[in-house]
Subunit: 150 residues, 2 copies
């Protein structure tokens, strides 16, 4: 494992911990972390259920927690699940140049959009994230369908 | 003025009122309203300054205020300014089929993305919205640059 991957795995754990907390709260188990200059500046998780907030996807909640910033161009956003079009559009709008994704088998499809906007996308194929989503999709198919507007 | 345009102008006033309230609060003067089945179900405004929240663009705040819904496919989103890529991505993700935009001279460029996703986009070229943005951009160029991540 090279040094970059080691860093990514370490930062990714902050996103995964948020996803696990979301599941424990009865929420959609998707978490995110924003890293700037080698430091986690904010984490977040999907809070649709907890706050009744349809825009509170993990990535969005993380960016809200991070507050007003001017350093997005030095940031990497870690997320346990591949970004939906809301979150992908936000990453492009904010000018975040790099996204590390836990997995894209439970949901995906916006990687090409991100890359077309110059965003580097790394997919970890993390089995823990897949298992979290599998459990959630089985137990709450209605909330999952709502969260991806299906 | 045909009946549809009359309805649009009436609903649009709810978005414009939010933009004006935003300016009065020292915020970014952009407002939005969500209409479902001929009824305003929520309004919102940019609250970056008021709440220190970078994702609280007018459209996003409005969708947050509207809460968890399953009726986006019968909705029209009114917004005083052409949606940024975050808001355009959200409109596409939520499956909102129609957007009425106050103006797209102060900011724009995502109309083609929206139309490519099947969203109908109507631009009103509203002089009141242009004037609100002109005043704000002159008085707070730094906050405006921050809001569009430039």
């Amino acid at each position: 494992m090279n040094s970059d991957v080691g860093h990514d795995q370490r930062f990714f754990c902050a996103a995964l911990a948020e996803a696990e907390q979301g599941l424990a709260e009865g929420g959609v188990p998707i978490g995110a972390a924003l890293v700037v200059d080698g430091r986690v500046v904010a984490t977040g998780r999907n809070r649709r259920v907890q706050q009744g907030d349809p825009i509170a996807h993990g990535e969005m909640d993380c960016l809200r927690q991070a507050g007003r910033r001017r350093d997005y161009r030095r940031a990497t956003l870690y997320t346990t699940l591949s970004p939906c079009m809301m979150c992908a559009g936000t990453i492009a709008q904010f000018g975040i140049p790099r996204v590390v994704v836990g997995e894209n088998t439970s949901f995906g499809g916006n990687e090409a959009f991100l890359r077309s906007r110059g965003v580097e996308v790394l997919v970890l194929d993390d089995a823990r994230c897949q298992e979290l989503m599998r459990r959630f999709q089985e137990e709450h198919p209605d909330v999952w369908a709502e969260d991806i507007a299906e």
